[in-house]
């Protein structure tokens, strides 16, 4: 068959089951086209077929015959389309994995819009309808709206210079960026994982003989690692590697596993009952953790673990209980209590969990993987596979989203390395399909929270209870109550405790602001309820809780400056079908940074290069590093070489805990200052300059000004490495509280935020439409405003997804996951994006290195709670569970039962 791709004829003979993406990626070698959902929902694979945007994952390959196919590679960096330029200039992307699809659809829309409307600006509604077949999990929708509108209006028709606040935007809009799924190596084999279909079982035996006998199968591997117990559906049992994916999948069906199936505890709501099967009846010492690397001490009663942290989380717990009981009985207007529930949320980054592993003999291992922590992963792999770290390389150059779900040595990495060991030196690639990604890979734990609050007559907090029961599947480690207690009013009595209830379901992991949205969901709604009962403004009540806190008070001043908040109607006063409401939540997060961060900065006549073993998951690490150099030297960030994504580089931070920016920006700044001092010396000695000082883009000296480029041209190649300075501890002494080089330290500060959401509830059909969200954070100095804005927008949108749509659903009989495709697991689309208003309070962090701390987790912490309060304000009905779906609204408002 003949087709044309980007003007080039291609002769191909497709397999009957091939779709266009197989031909485009595997035969034409064009990896800019991405497979993400595989079901025509997300649009990442969109190409133009005779100029019509088409999901190449569903288009039969033989239908390509005679067609003109255009992929993202048609518009390379020397032939950029105005739509690409607009995406770069407007931050219409983060991780970049969905970008080729969006750009192709954008180009088609640009053409049709121009034809019908000339150089005019389409509305957000027009764009939302056109882009309805695309999902961006990073939620860069605000930038995408603006990019498409500006491109259609002609703002980029004449632009030829590179306008890109994000330094790797050009690689992402052109499809040049190579993700783990795009790695092409000689002899590459496709690996697949055989996963348990049972939630609780013993593996008695695995028979590989039939699979090994299948032509094209190159390796098989037992993934049980000497253990026999299965504890959740989807747990890896075995792996195969074959010459192609189809053969590997056929081989999986030939592996015979003899399971001894046992009764399972799938349902979180009943797993705490005495007769529930016990998930870890044999080995509680091996329970994994959903927290960021740390295990908690637990006291176990079958599936229920109580974290032994009462001394930290509680304060006179007995007194708290007595006062709450008394308030409930005697002062009901000063008391509120509910049981709140939050469903599990799945990361479902558009690039799935993926790894490519290649053994070079028995003691040299190369790994390419989509990871949030390239540096630490190398140590984990080395330890697990009994190697020295110098025998292992780990690379992760582009990462298609992570959000907390790609930390550490996840199971797909282990599987790829293990099966590759038997593949005779050939590399093996394992990439989750979307079902594996949604059902087994990673998730934010669900939560049941019993919470109560009593206030004193003056509105200050008297006593509070927060007992959280984490639903992290087979894992422990949820810290909802601990987070709530950290920021609770100091004077109040607290009965706060973290429990987990283990179930035979897949493991919980960190997810953007782990456990924080859940505690805000409970506490902020209780505060709102008590304030309403007291007839006190919710802002006034919050001010009383911490009256001298300057930052919190400034944030509350800002809340009161929002016209929609200031002029809001009384709760429940809207009586029509569509009812508007507005709600507030405050938020806090901890300050993490990696004090062992090291950066190497190098100069040569070619320019400046900065190297660090960190990674960019879409947060913009490359750009943050480059911006620090740009801020000091005045050299455009786009003219710098930023080398990351390789574990052999100097130690860099994990992309987690909002620690990347406060780790790399100040360190780059230090390193750049040192480099400039060196270059001035070079200029003095080699160019004979005198009276030198740093000027704008170069050196001021007695004879005038010399640009850095001129100094670099004559200076000898040079490089230096700087380590981040430690933050000050309680006594003002700089200290490193990190427990290991790869572990973050806690700075002695908190970040603070406030979120106000205005929405509309359709009381007839239960749909909630967010209209406006005002999101403020106080984190000190904003280092890279474009990147900060993107995090703030996406924090809101992901938070709205958590509040309104996203829910991991299990079949309770079998333990299988029902929300296992992107139709049934609902993430926010572009049309769900409200107007988002951002505010930064930049004062108060002057003593911190660089004067600023991280914000990306804080940006999402309070969103769901503000939605809950807004729904109550609109309807008088308080939602206790997330997501607040049409069903819960219809039932909550008493219209259906």
């Amino acid at each position: 068959m003949e087709t044309t791709i980007n003007g080039q004829p291609l002769t191909f003979e497709p397999h009957p089951l091939d779709t266009a993406i197989d031909v485009i990626r595997d035969q034409a070698g064009l990896t800019g086209t991405k497979l993400a959902c595989g079901g025509g929902v997300c649009g990442a694979c969109t190409v133009l077929v005779d100029n019509v945007p088409t999901c190449s994952c569903l288009m039969p390959a033989n239908h390509m015959e005679g067609k003109a196919i255009q992929t993202i590679e048609a518009h390379g960096r020397d032939n950029l389309h105005p739509v690409q330029r607009a995406f770069m200039a407007n931050e219409g992307l983060q991780c970049g994995f969905c970008t080729p699809g969006f750009v192709n659809e954008g180009i088609a829309f640009y053409n049709s819009w121009r034809e019908a409307h000339g150089k005019t600006r389409p509305s957000q509604h027009d764009i939302a309808l056109a882009m309805g077949g695309h999902l961006c999990r990073c939620a860069a929708y605000v930038g995408i709206y603006e990019a498409i509108a500006q491109a259609c209006a002609g703002d980029f028709d004449e632009v030829t210079e590179l306008i890109a606040p994000r330094v790797d935007a050009i690689e992402k809009v052109t499809g040049e960026a190579k993700y783990t799924v795009d790695v092409q190596l000689d002899g590459l084999l496709e690996g697949r994982i055989l996963r348990s279909p049972y939630p609780n079982a013993m593996v008695k035996s695995i028979d590989f003989s039939a699979a090994q006998g299948l032509a094209g199968v190159e390796a098989v591997a037992d993934l049980m690692e000497g253990k026999r117990r299965i504890r959740f559906v989807g747990q890896p049992v075995a792996a195969v590697a074959a010459i192609d994916g189809r053969t590997a999948e056929a081989a999986l069906k030939l592996i015979k596993v003899d399971y001894q199936v046992m009764a399972a505890a799938v349902d979180f709501e009943t797993a705490d009952q005495p007769d529930a099967p016990e998930v870890w009846d044999d080995d509680k010492g091996s329970i994994p953790t959903a927290a960021e690397g740390t295990s908690l001490p637990y006291r176990w009663n079958k599936n229920v673990g109580r974290a032994r942290m009462g001394l930290i989380t509680s304060r006179w717990a007995g007194a708290a209980g007595r006062r709450l009981a008394s308030a409930e009985k005697n002062e009901p207007d000063r008391y509120a209590a509910h049981t709140f529930r939050n469903s599990q949320q799945v990361h479902t980054a558009l690039e799935p969990h993926a790894a490519v592993a290649q053994w070079d003999g028995a003691d040299k291992l190369h790994v390419y993987t989509s990871t949030q922590g390239v540096y630490g992963l190398r140590f984990e792999i080395a330890e697990h596979f009994d190697l020295d770290k110098d025998q292992v390389t780990v690379e992760s150059h582009y990462i298609g989203g992570a959000f907390g779900g790609k930390q550490g040595m996840y199971r797909e990495i282990v599987a790829a390395i293990t099966v590759a060991r038997h593949a005779g030196g050939r590399p093996v690639r394992i990439v989750n399909n979307r079902m594996e990604e949604l059902a087994y890979a990673s998730l934010r734990p669900g939560m049941k929270v019993d919470a109560a609050l009593a206030v004193k007559p003056d509105g200050t907090a008297e006593a509070m209870k927060l007992h959280s029961y984490g639903n992290a599947g087979v894992a422990g480690g949820t810290i909802t109550a601990a987070l709530a207690s950290i920021t609770a009013p100091r004077g109040a009595y607290r009965d706060m405790a973290d429990f987990v209830v283990t179930t035979n379901t897949s493991q919980g992991t960190p997810f953007r602001g782990p456990d924080a949205p859940q505690q805000r969901w409970a506490m902020e709604q209780l505060i709102d309820e008590v304030a309403l009962k007291q007839g006190v403004d919710p802002v006034t009540m919050r001010r009383k809780w911490d009256p001298k806190h300057e930052i919190k008070n400034r944030l509350l001043d800002w809340v009161e400056s929002i016209p929609g908040w200031r002029d809001r109607a009384k709760a429940g006063s809207d009586k029509g079908r569509f009812r508007r409401g507005i709600g507030l939540s405050t938020a806090q997060w901890i300050f993490m940074y990696n004090p062992d961060t090291q950066l190497t900065i190098s100069s040569s006549p070619e320019g400046i290069k900065v190297s660090c073993a960190t990674q960019d998951i879409g947060n913009g690490t490359r750009t943050t590093i480059a911006k620090a150099v740009e801020d000091l030297m005045g050299i455009s960030r786009n003219d710098l070489v930023i080398e990351i994504g390789d574990a052999s580089l100097p130690l860099g931070p994990v992309a987690g805990g909002s620690q990347v920016t406060p780790s790399v920006y100040p360190t780059t700044y230090q390193a750049t200052e040192a480099l400039m001092a060196h270059l001035i010396k070079e200029a003095e000695s080699k160019m004979g300059l005198s009276g030198c000082s740093v000027g704008q883009g170069g050196i001021n000296h007695t004879a005038g000004f010399t640009a850095w480029a001129d100094v670099l041209a004559i200076a000898a190649p040079f490089s230096l490495t700087e380590k981040r300075a430690n933050e000050r501890g309680p006594l003002g002494i700089p200290m490193n509280t990190s427990t290991a080089p790869v572990a973050p330290a806690l700075g002695m500060r908190f970040s603070h935020g406030a979120t106000v959401t205005e929405l509309e509830v359709d009381t007839r059909l239960g749909k909630i439409r967010p209209l406006n969200v005002w999101n403020a954070v106080a984190v000190g100095k904003i280092f890279v405003p474009h990147l900060a804005n993107s995090q703030m927008y996406s924090g809101v949108i992901q938070g709205l997804g958590y509040a309104l749509y996203e829910e991991k659903v299990y079949d309770l009989k079998t333990g299988h996951v029902l929300s296992s495709n992107l139709n049934d697991y609902r993430v926010p689309g572009i049309g769900d994006t409200p107007n988002i208003h951002i505010h930064y309070d930049q004062e108060g962090y002057e003593e911190v290195q660089g004067q600023g701390i991280g914000l990306s987790e804080l940006a999402t912490v309070g969103v769901a709670a503000s939605v809950g309060n807004a729904v109550h304000h609109a309807t008088g009905w308080r939602p206790l569970n997330t997501p607040i779906t049409p069903k819960t609204v219809v039932i909550g408002l008493g219209m259906g039962d």
Binding site: G40, Y805, T814, V817, S820, N821, P886
Partner: protein
Amino acid sequence: MLNIITQAEEAQGLRGEIRAGGTDLHDRYRAGVSSGAIVDIHKLVGLDQIEQAADGTTTIGALVSIDTVGNHAITAGNYSGLAKAANGLATPQIRWAASFGGSLLQRTRCAYYRHPDLSCTKKGDEVCGGRDGNHTNGVIFDKGGCSHHHPSTLGGSLLAYDARIKTSQRDITVAELYGDGSEHSRDHLLANGEVLTHVILPPPVAGEKTAYFRSISRFEAEWPIVECTVRLAVADGLITAAGVGVGGVSQIPLKLSNVETLLVGQAATQETLERAAAAAAEGANPLPGAVWKVEMLVGTLLTTFEMALAD
């Protein structure tokens, strides 16, 4: 095994599932819930046209894209309820690629069906996993067996238009295409090797008001909780004719004749609309987890009626 045929009759006797646009089929094959041979019909000649006879009867070829159904002058001008439904389903890419015929014959979107390891009558299992499991978005006009609703938006729309179906073997009504919902292993009643070739719409009704609406949780691109296509003819403030087709509520798309009866001959007022919408709940026998959808059906109908009157 892939057979690419050029005449509809060739399909008879060939083993395999029929593929037109492939948008449903490849989703299922990739997910591992379907397998086996394919009979590709995208090269069948003459099935990509929309034609109107002198008496107004309109024939739509099965290979016409959903996007074309939504935007072609004949359909958009004369059968605007169908066109609005076509424009209101799925996503732009799917509407461009998917065929009209395929949209009527696609397999159920039930999560138990779409999961390779879960039990489903439509995959040949004895037991429907959702009936005793999760059927939050299940049927409220239950026909037994399978517990999930039929996926075809346009099937419901065609019921509102009293359309007919032409296949390589026969000429049947849309209601006959779907049967009474008692065939729990199937989503339509075409025989193996029988190719849906055309949809035939009766002559249009001039000046009728139409609307299509689906209830979902997000802005767009979501399978419906309940969906509705409505046609109303209004003269001198009286509703003179009505067509109401709904989806999301039963194992087959439904035409709500009792609701139509309550509309026809009545004043085009809010009271009439509310009374007729409320009547839709009559006879509902919802699954226990789907009771909430009865109110959604009433609300969705009322909303669609209001939209139609404002058309």
